[in-house]
Amino acid sequence: MAQLKFLSDDEVKGMHNATLRILNEVGYVWTHKPSLEILTGAGCKIKGNRVYFPPELVEDSIKKAGKKVSIRGRGGVTKNLGDGNLYFHNLGGARDIYDAKTGGHRIAQMQDVRDATRLLDALENCHTITPFFTPQDVPGELMSLAMYRHALPFTTKPLQGPGVQFGPETKYAVRMAEVIGDPKEVLTLALSPVSPLTIPDHEAEAVIEIAKAGISFGALPCPTAGATSPMTISGSIAQQNAETLAVVILAQLVNPGLPIVYCGRLAMMEPRTGASVWGGVELALASAGTVQLGHSYGFAVNVYGFSTNAHTIDAQDGFERGLNAAIPALAGADELSGIGEMEAGVMGSYAQMVLDNELAYSVLRLRKGFSADEEALGVDMIARIMDGSRNFLGQKHTMKYLKAGEVQLTKFAERSSWEAWERNGKQGMVDHAIDAAEKILREHEVTPLEPQQEKELDDIMSAAEKELVKKR
């Protein structure tokens, strides 16, 4: 099936060249001495607080970078990114949680991290899981580690690591991963440089730790077009590309061949307030463009996805996330984030997670397309039924394609008559999702960790608390 392309090959090349110019002529704000030594050793120049990357180094690092990224869950299932399939995962890092039944919201607690993980474990189209909420009942310095620690017992699916910012934090995350397997196989880590074109010292240190440990790595720049990156989608993708490649280059110098997931998190600025627009369809355009650029380098690409600014599960929510998932999916994305996301990533919801699992089927159905070969066209069969029953219901051809998924069998979408719908209590898609979420949370069980593993994780958290939490 032909992939959706918003950019011509020449335009993709033009973006790459723009990136080379940004890295070589504009430079990157970078002051972390140990990593600067590594970069200058490879030919980078420093002037003031900026580092400049020669184009040859950029091209070389892209070539060298590991393109195959895989992550294994403790249940034994491995996901290989870039194998041609589209995988989904959830939003990571929401502060609030939405109650679809009451329409209210509250601050997320640690228990929500556990429950969200267990719920996502039950959803077929959530292929890997990211720790969901940023619990506010945990000291800031431990938040990311606590998210990972308390997600581990509640899924056997591949569990991505939390977003990290610090070297020591990264080391503890790797130690925790060791409890369930080889960190190189069971863990991936992500880190966000600061837009525009800036990396704080502690993040550069974290990149080195990630690379040293051999952990598959995704750089997650989050520029806001018009505020921290150009107003134009293309200029922002080029800047985002520069922000990603700079840290990929460092990672490759520390550990040549380190597997890289190419990610994009570009959003527009809402010009009337300065807020981030995650629901507007520009997100779809940005994601699709990012897919094209990342693929031109040979990387597997991870973008959004299910994405809205809505505070309720309503028409805006459905419309926004539908378009924002379908478009990059059709552009060939390898991974889409956003399961459970609401309110520009500030809020998550159990009902939304279940709903997104359902919507994912539709996105996958779109991506599958439809066959137009001779057998599918079925002219001989048409001839036969015209001489006979004059309908297609009893045909083997009909059942064959039905079973192969030609028409998607939705679970929650309303397709009955008004009377039937009324008889069944006028339940809509959201009602079904709410009920299903409650049922899963009530009933779904996950093989627990061994007591020894739980103890090891607790010991690692204690050690982390001792080292990382400042006495104030």
Partner: protein
Amino acid sequence: MSEELFKEMAQSIIDGDSDISTELAKKSIELNIHPLEAITKGFVVGVTYIGDQFGLGEAFLPELVMAGEAMKSAIAVLEPELLKLGEAREMMGKVVLATVEGDIHEIGKTLVGTMLSASGFEVVDLGVDQSADKIIGKALEINADIIGMSALLTTTMVRQREVIEELDKEGLRPRIKVMVGGAPITQDWVKKIKADGYSEDAIGAVKIAKELVGKE
């Protein structure tokens, strides 16, 4: 004749044109128009208009930023002239701004600073990643009326509470008022940490600041 010039001054702010606002400021000096008149009857009118339009959702954030820069340029020309006359703008108050420790995001804070300056506050912007000691130290040094703190991350917003607790410990409130802001900040948080003021945007911040110094 001055009426025409005042209109042009206001327009230069609305258009966000620093070159023209500078030019008009210089022209007003040549025409012996009192700098304070140029400011209050000309340029400030433009700032107020853009602020109101922004509040209505009719003007955009980039326009606000450009208006602030144009205002800054005009003030840079007119303020020295005021001093020469032995006069000064009526200062609304003194504000120390900072992004809290561990956080390096500053676009919103910088815009608040620009808008406060444009509205007659004396602003000292410490920049990013500022410890409680630095923030409180500067506030004491310049005898600030307001401390304004910004945080973008859920992991760093807790520093806002620490600064407030330190101020209370030293008995520096209510003499010094505290405003907080940033993307993860909510009214609940503001209540929880007992901050004195909060706004979702820079224009609202100016309003709150004026209320806190009793000038609104």
